[in-house]
Symmetry: C3
Subunit: 160 residues, 3 copies
């Protein structure tokens, strides 16, 4: 997995974040994921930093910058009509790294339900984010007001 | 989806709840869901306000009042003998609305395991609650003592 | 279920833990589970107390002591090559019991993804832990530094 070595090395020296910060990180993720599932792709992209990166194990290279991330989410293949897809996040682990950044690790699933059918898990992933404080947080399009922005995200797809 | 317009309009002006309040909301949900899965239907109904409402996309109209909610949960079709059903809650998003109420949005799954079989997801839902502070919280049957009561719940079933 | 009676009796007199403690408990679980899924079995075993116990409904008797727990996790059957298994934890409920211990109840799933295949849920469980404060928390191998250690864990498998 890309990033794995740097991540493991840094984590060995990292401190868990304090409880209130941990709660605020969960709150950020809960809100961020709902934006995606509710079709608010632009607002979702606004939860990345202006120069944020989004990478997946299935990408040839990372998507760089908030505008490109917004375009990528708009360009995703649509679910078939009547099918609902939801992103499920596991409890995130969160550390403050020696360089001052906050890094998280969490699992995520995509659960898909077609009309009249039972839900199924389409995708299982393991994710790593670098978060930075959202100094603004005014809800003016530069963040969710939840106190965090994603500087980089890596999503590793299981089974590939 | 019923409620969707009022919800979206209010949310645009809402503030995320503070981290400690967010943690207390998660704590409430964790305990509330276990009551349901452990067969404590009356105690589960007690986590709604006396005049609380419970609505689902499959209902013709909401169930109104704690006593009616307790009766509805008692009246649910039982799982087949040997089958265990568990409610899974995703990380809740939570806002304080301009009217002072706390509103949450979260996804929920029902995972069902029959004797000797692999678990399967029976149902995928997206839920919206209005919560109010549980001033009492003494565990005398008017709440879980977790600081919150549900004033209204809407459960939207995917795939219908 | 073993433990169920003692657990239910104690819980009736128990208090929910305060919000910051609740957040720290979630933080502990998030980190503990990732250790297991990342193959850090020894570090995972170090999140139990020296005399900790690990019990499952499929065990004839509990595994006793950190060294035996580490050996048990090393001895688990490996997943087939190319298959990724992940532990998913639901929101934990957490109480401080009259004896001063913290006890938690939570559901857990094992999600398995074989190469080229869709993810599937292999196992659904309901778990009960007794946690104690990790006074050390220095990351010197006697804990995760997250403030908690498991004194006893019981994992009940659904469908058996």
């Amino acid at each position: 997995m890309r990033h794995a070595k740097e991540y493991a090395e840094g984590r060995a020296k990292a401190e868990p974040v304090p409880p209130a910060e941990y709660a605020s990180i969960q709150r950020f993720y809960a809100r961020q994921m709902r934006l995606l599932d509710e079709g608010e792709g632009d607002a979702w992209a606004d939860t990345f930093t202006e120069d944020g990166t989004f990478d997946q194990s299935s990408f040839a290279e990372p998507v760089r910058g908030r505008a490109a991330i917004a375009a990528a989410v708009r360009g995703r293949p649509a679910a078939p009509a009547g099918t609902v897809r939801r992103h499920w996040l596991g409890l995130p682990a969160a550390w403050r790294f020696p360089d001052g950044s906050v890094r998280t690790g969490y699992d995520a699933l995509v659960v898909s339900t077609a009309e009249g059918a039972a839900p199924e898990i389409r995708l299982s992933t393991s994710c790593q984010d670098v978060l930075v404080a959202d100094e603004d947080g005014t809800g003016d399009g530069t963040g969710t007001g939840d106190g965090w922005l994603v500087r980089s995200r890596y999503v590793g797809h299981d089974g590939q």
